[in-house]
């Protein structure tokens, strides 16, 4: 998928046999044999085989952090062009063996004689044969991301209706964007798939309200109080995305349109393990990253034409917005005299986001950067804010401008 995405980009911009400064990407779920995933994808692509590449991984922030890394190198003059992105598959995820089986196999490998190998194999127990399926859970808490977010959702009092509204809007916006051809020059079809499979353009709040909650059912309030469903939580899907970055000179030399400039980025982390149940939710790090980014760039939260807040869960977006509107929270936790305030919701995720697209972990960042850059370009200029929450209590945010 990553090779196909790179080849799609190469085809779009005529970069065959071009030695790009570097290609940075990564995958959250990958097999150890794919240690050089990005470099292998480059070698399999039509880029010059002399293009260097490396893997990066920062959970759901992977895609955006590759953009930050390469943009910084371009700004420093170390390279003049780069391709940044990510890829992930949930349908074809690697499966690990259990710890016990792994130890037995290593012992077999180390044994020097047939007898030794048989002896080592003799240590095998039936329960060790069960493989370890990768799970979307935090090692330090044992809670899944959904259960973590369910706590945050409850703490901030985010309603089921608000979540379903956001989810329906995401599907409707994405469908409309596809219908008007917005993605015609952004999406490279793969294995016959030309649109996101997850998209349900006919989603309505009424339909979504019929679903049963799947997260937070064990919290106080029980099933009745739980609000997070399969529809207002983002499904894990398969996908790859890449973004071409370059200096203005390189773009001009190659006669390529500059859609937007990468301005600045910030990453924050919260102590979701020991921190405050309300203020330090697993996916709340962007709430902290954005004010730091705004301050450094002398901007207000309202100084943007577009907001792209990754829809890990509908309630993640809503919590983030609620936190910025909460004067008490902004004072106590962000150290701000005034709250960041509210945003014009008509500028939020206007072409749909992860709830409709799906969330192939590392590919989400590149998708959002490319989408926002094109929106800014179509708008004839403007400024956009990207916010992506990530496992491990981290959050990556960035500004694009044109």
């Amino acid at each position: 998928m990553l090779t196909a995405a790179i080849d799609g980009l190469v085809a779009r911009y005529g970069l065959q046999n071009e030695r790009v400064g570097e290609v940075a990407s990564g995958a959250v779920l990958k097999h150890s044999r794919d240690f050089n995933l990005t470099r292998e994808a480059v070698l399999g692509s039509t880029l010059a085989p002399t293009t260097p590449a490396y893997d990066v991984q920062q959970a759901c922030g992977t895609g955006l952090v590759t953009v930050i890394l390469t943009a910084n190198k371009i700004a420093l003059g170390q390279i003049d062009s780069a391709i940044a992105g990510g890829v992930d598959t949930t349908s074809d995820a690697p499966i690990a063996v259990s710890e016990g089986l792994r130890e037995v196999l290593l012992d077999v490998n180390r044994a020097k004689s047939l007898g030794g190998r048989l002896k080592a194999l003799g240590g095998l127990r039936p329960n060790q044969i069960v493989p370890t399926i990768p799970q979307n859970s935090e090692p330090r808490t044992g809670l899944s991301m959904g259960e973590h977010q369910a706590i945050t959702t409850q703490e901030w009092g985010i309603t089921r209706e608000a979540q379903d509204e956001l989810a329906a809007a995401s599907h409707q916006n994405l469908a409309a964007a596809y219908d008007r051809g917005f993605f015609d020059d952004l999406v490279t079809p793969f294995l016959g798939l030309t649109r996101d499979q997850n998209l349900r353009g006919d989603s309505t709040v009424e339909k979504l309200s019929k679903l049963s909650p799947v997260f937070g059912t064990h919290l106080p309030g029980g099933v009745e109080g739980a609000t997070m469903t399969a529809a207002n939580s983002t499904p894990l899907t398969d996908g790859a995305s890449v973004v071409l970055l370059a200096s203005d000179e390189w773009a001009a030399e190659h006669k390529l349109p500059v859609l937007a400039h990468f301005v600045d980025a910030e990453t924050a982390a919260v102590d979701y393990v020991h921190g405050d149940r309300r203020a330090d939710g697993l996916l709340m790090a962007p709430v902290y990253a954005v004010p730091r980014l705004l301050a450094r760039n002398n901007l207000k939260l309202q100084d943007f034409d577009f907001y792209e807040i990754h829809e890990a869960f509908a309630s993640t977006v809503l919590t983030t917005l609620a936190a910025w509107e909460d004067a008490e929270f902004c004072k106590s936790y962000l150290g701000l005299d005034e709250p960041l305030g509210s945003i014009d919701r008509s500028k939020l995720n206007i072409n749909g986001s992860s709830l409709a697209v799906g969330h192939p972990f590392a590919a989400t960042g590149g998708r959002i950067v490319a989408t926002l850059a094109k929106m800014i370009h179509e708008n004839g200029g403007g400024r956009g804010l990207i916010s992506i929450c990530a496992a491990g209590g981290q959050g990556v945010v960035a500004i694009l401008e044109a």
Binding site: A4, V10, A11, G14, Q16, T188, T194
Partner: protein, 441 residues
């Protein structure tokens, strides 16, 4: 899908059997390979009156071996006859004299090229004699065997012949047979490198993800053009492969969408230095007898095959994105001449294209000496024809003077020829690439 019958009759056993039983024996056509000589053997030039030394010089410059003497047993790669001086029916005997003794010495995949003048209405006798050339060449095309072709160039006084002579002698014209082509005075610049006649040119090919479109993109790129390949977003995967194979760029464009011209202009403005070559190749079929034709099948064929070409041409002509001396080539079809059962909608568009190029010629000439022409393929082996029933396909393949289907590359070669700087004297015409199909040719 390869032509098994063609391969069979070109094997030793198959050939012997076919001869005894009297089955058609299609030849393996000579096609262009870079670096190979333009012809398999020497050229003999004849004329009504004396052979113009300038013509001999021009043919020699193509790399062909022009002989002024001949001996018994000489075999010819090409026979060229200059009939521009024909002015009475009696003059036509000069063609009989020149050809009849030499046709048996024409090599396999040889070339017959007759130069004449177009009837101009000035003199009835002269015009009748000139028109007679058409009948001679078309009949000769049907007589020639072993992959040889005969074509007629109707030349104006100051027209540049070079590019056309090269095309018609070489393997690039393998599947063009029995066709007349008019060359008028135009701006026809000889390329710096005849192997890369399109060097420095920016070309756009619509419907380029597969089949004939992909072949056109490949030949234009081979000839030196920087090619933008366009197709529907749904074809993006195949399109990216074509772009990456030929070193071009991919553009997702639905030519039938109302905003297609606008999208195309925006793209050309931001990512090119203007367009030099446009190939309107995108086309669809929705075959049904007219009695059963659904409105949507009618409308979609008209929109994609004809209206899109009109709209995009109009937008380009009034923009700054179409360079001077640009070349537009539209895809017609022999169906546009002959019609075809179940194809009233398709036939409408393909005949419409013939009218489109004829009537657009002056507007393009006014746009910095640009040209617009069409190519009308006959039966070409593609993914589409591979799906035909075996018997129908086999019969269709034999229904031409060359007794075989053409290949996508044959269409592509003709398009590259019409797109080249030296083809400036060809405007508003439709060139058939059909192996002299017995239907509509």
């Amino acid at each position: 899908m390869g032509d098994r019958y063609l391969n069979l009759v070109n094997s030793p056993v198959g050939s012997a059997v076919a001869s005894r039983v009297g089955l058609p024996k299609p030849a393996v056509l000579r096609r262009y390979v870079e670096g190979e000589p333009i012809l398999p053997g020497p050229v003999r030039i004849g004329a009504v009156g004396k052979v113009d030394p300038a013509l001999s010089k021009l043919v020699s410059a193509t790399g062909a071996d022009v002989r002024t003497t001949e001996a018994d047993g000489d075999r010819w790669g090409a026979l060229i006859f200059d009939a521009t001086a024909v002015s009475s029916p009696a003059d036509l005997a000069a063609l009989r004299d020149f050809f009849s003794g030499r046709l048996r010495s024409l090599m396999s995949c040889g070339r017959v090229l007759v130069l004449g003048r177009a009837a101009d209405g000035a003199d009835i006798t002269v015009d009748a004699s000139r028109q007679a050339l058409d009948g001679i060449v078309r009949s000769l095309g049907k007589e020639l065997q072993r992959g040889s072709t005969a074509n007629l160039l109707l030349v104006e006084d100051n027209a540049s012949l070079e590019t056309a002579v090269r095309f018609f002698l070489s393997g690039k014209s393998a599947y063009v047979d029995g066709q007349p082509l008019r060359l008028v005075t135009g701006v026809a610049v000889a390329p710096a490198d005849w192997d890369k006649p399109l060097a420095g040119k920016t070309a756009l090919v619509t419907g380029a993800a597969r089949g004939i479109g992909a072949a056109i993109a490949g030949v234009l790129a081979r000839d030196g053009a920087k090619v933008i390949v366009a197709d529907l977003q749904q074809a993006g995967e195949a399109l990216a492969k074509v772009a990456n194979r030929i070193g071009g760029t991919a553009l997702h464009l639905d030519v039938a969408a109302p905003n297609a011209p606008e999208k195309l202009l925006a793209y050309l403005e931001s990512q090119t230095d203007g367009l030099d070559i446009l190939v309107h190749n995108a086309g669809i079929t929705r075959d049904k007898l007219l009695a059963n034709m659904k409105p949507e099948n009618w409308d979609s064929v008209i929109a994609v095959n004809l209206q899109s070409q009109l709209s995009i041409n109009a937008a380009l002509l009034s923009s700054k994105s179409l360079n001077d001396q640009s070349r537009v080539v539209c895809l017609s079809s022999t169906t546009g001449f002959s019609g075809n059962r179940g194809q009233t909608n398709y036939g409408a568009t393909k005949a419409g294209v013939i009218g489109l190029v004829r009537s657009s010629a002056s507007a393009f000439a006014a746009h910095g000496n640009s040209t617009i022409n069409a190519v009308a393929p006959g039966f070409i082996d593609t993914e589409m024809t591979a799906k035909m029933p075996l018997a129908t396909r086999e019969v269709a393949r034999r229904l031409s003077s060359l007794q075989q289907a053409g290949l996508p590359v044959d269409v592509a070669e003709a398009i590259s020829f019409l797109s080249s700087p030296g083809a400036g004297g060809i405007n508003g015409q439709t060139l058939r690439v059909c192996g002299q199909n017995l239907v509509g040719a």
